[in-house]
Symmetry: C2
Subunit: 331 residues, 2 copies
């Protein structure tokens, strides 16, 4: 299953809005086929693995990182192919997160005389598809805010100078965050001040896969001449503030992972509304002092019990910086 | 040598201002004696190890984490005891950092027909005694500033509320930082606002070993009734600001490790003067917002190139917090 999850990661940048899935087929203790889901509309992992088999899959065990699909979507259901291939057992990691589908495959496979089990490395396969799971369960994307800061929590000097607080390695890592996201959201202030591209600039990244860019411009300040509106891919200009219903709208647009790259005001507002699921902070070990610009702006809080708390998910060094991954308390 | 350094750590809280030293005596591949330096004026590690030998140390190999002393200080020189014991070789980790003494033992041992080598795990043994090495080389203590902060670099709310931002585990860890320090320094503002004890409250920690407490009170605001002046151990009240010459004065008082536990103004001033060698930040994954109080206060900087930079030495989670250990660029 470890291998199936590793294979699934091959699709991390390309298979959205579908989940990342990997599949390994084993017969007589030998791997006879492997596959992963590359692209929406293309073969699912199970089909790719069946097609790759060096031996007949009859009687084999199929390890797949997500419950095989039972319905016809953009491609025929994988369940039929597994049954037709006469495999003897199917082991999948996590159930389909869609409550209407979840668990349906078990009955179908068992009826066909195929042994089924699930739950192996479930947390890993869900983590890989956290945005997809979130959308299926809550009808909205997983919201990840990325911030580059100093050790003392500043994102720029008081005069606005901010190029570059974090190291080249950190900035390169941000490209991976973008590439795995379905959309990247920012504010009109950021667009007007920095004129950012917010696109993915990675080798071998197809310009067809560029995440949707979203600019929140409730005061209508953007003129439309800014760089972001003229790059390959799409840019959505939203004239209201970000709230639960806008996130649900993005969910209906099949946005799994939403990356926020914005300033203190948008981050402060999202934090106050409880809409940030994950914070990724690239923190440079430097100090800018009290006059520099803070990462979050919101009205002063009066009691420590009103602070906004997260839990540490991961902590590592990257280049000369630290990369902190923090989750909302209940995520 | 690894074992000798492990043994040396036994003295981390008690042997100051002497360096922490451990010693292992090996004969025919069997450890026949071990020792470590517990207390200034008591046996050095080598003597303790020789005394503990289960077999005659004649012909043995002696592993010691610091160059054996060659001069009579509070105790007779260890070199004489090693020569008298007719050991056949001495392997020490780092040389005596005192430039006047450094390397002297080599000649004496070789003259006595004892094989000598050094340099094994040198970085580890120096790191364990970083304050002692700093004092020997620069005539001033190693200055370590400890700060408890939020993720956005705040140490208290705008109204001063700060109990407790960090977790119990972090606060307990601070006791170890205090216990390994020769002195703990704070400002009159901190004394007047928080009335802190700044003493070590660990089981088995002798009240005779309490670090010196230093209060910087250049404006003469402390009345003398504050708790800090009435606890077991000594408190030094200094009526001028902290500068290089004050640190040299502390060096002459045999202060190896100086722990700063103070507010934004003292930390800002020390940072500006380049006097902070190490920052230890206990960072809680919570956000207090822009109106809360910053960890460092100093006049605004106008260019990113003027920021204060550190390098990451260690990064880990502690309780629900992060513990960041950062060194001045050139330390």
């Amino acid at each position: 299953m470890q291998r199936a999850i590793e294979l699934a990661k091959n699709g991390i940048h390309s298979c959205k809005p579908n989940p990342r899935v990997g599949c390994v087929i084993v017969k007589n203790d030998i791997v006879i086929g492997e596959g992963w889901h590359k692209k929406t509309g293309g073969d699912h992992a199970e089909i790719m693995a069946l097609k790759s088999c060096e031996d007949s899959p009859e009687g084999s065990s199929v390890f797949v990182s997500l419950e095989p699909c039972t319905h016809k979507g953009r491609t025929p259901p994988c369940i039929d192919s597994l049954i037709n291939a006469k495999v003897s057992s199917v082991i999948f990691s996590s159930m389909d997160p869609n409550p209407k589908v979840s668990g349906k495959s078990i009955k179908l496979l068992e009826t066909a005389g195929i042994e089924v089990s699930h739950g192996l490395l479930e947390e890993d396969s869900q983590e890989l598809n956290i945005g997809f799971f979130n959308r299926m369960r809550a009808n909205k994307p997983f919201v990840r805010s990325k911030i580059g800061s100093s050790l003392d929590g500043k994102i720029a000097l008081h005069n606005g100078e901010s190029k570059w607080i974090t190291s080249e390695e950190s900035r390169k890592d941000v490209q991976n965050l973008r590439a795995r996201s379905c959309a990247i959201m920012t504010s009109n202030q950021t667009v007007l001040r920095d004129d950012p591209s917010l696109n993915v600039r990675l080798d071998n990244f197809s310009s067809d896969d560029q995440p949707l860019r979203i600019v929140i411009d409730s005061t209508g300040k953007c003129g439309g001449n800014e760089k972001i509106f003229h790059l390959p891919g799409e840019t959505l200009l939203h004239h209201h503030r970000v709230d639960q219903s806008f996130l649900e709208h993005l969910g209906s647009m099949e946005i799994n992972d939403l990356l926020v790259e914005s300033g203190p005001r948008m981050n402060g507002a999202l934090l106050e509304s409880g809409l940030i699921d994950e914070l990724i902070i690239y923190m440079s070990p430097c100090i800018l002092g009290k006059d520099a610009i803070d990462m979050f702006a919101f009205p002063a809080i009066e009691k420590l019990s009103d602070r906004y708390s997260f839990v540490i998910r991961d902590l590592k060094t990257i280049g000369t910086d630290m990369k902190l991954t923090l989750r909302k308390n209940n995520v």
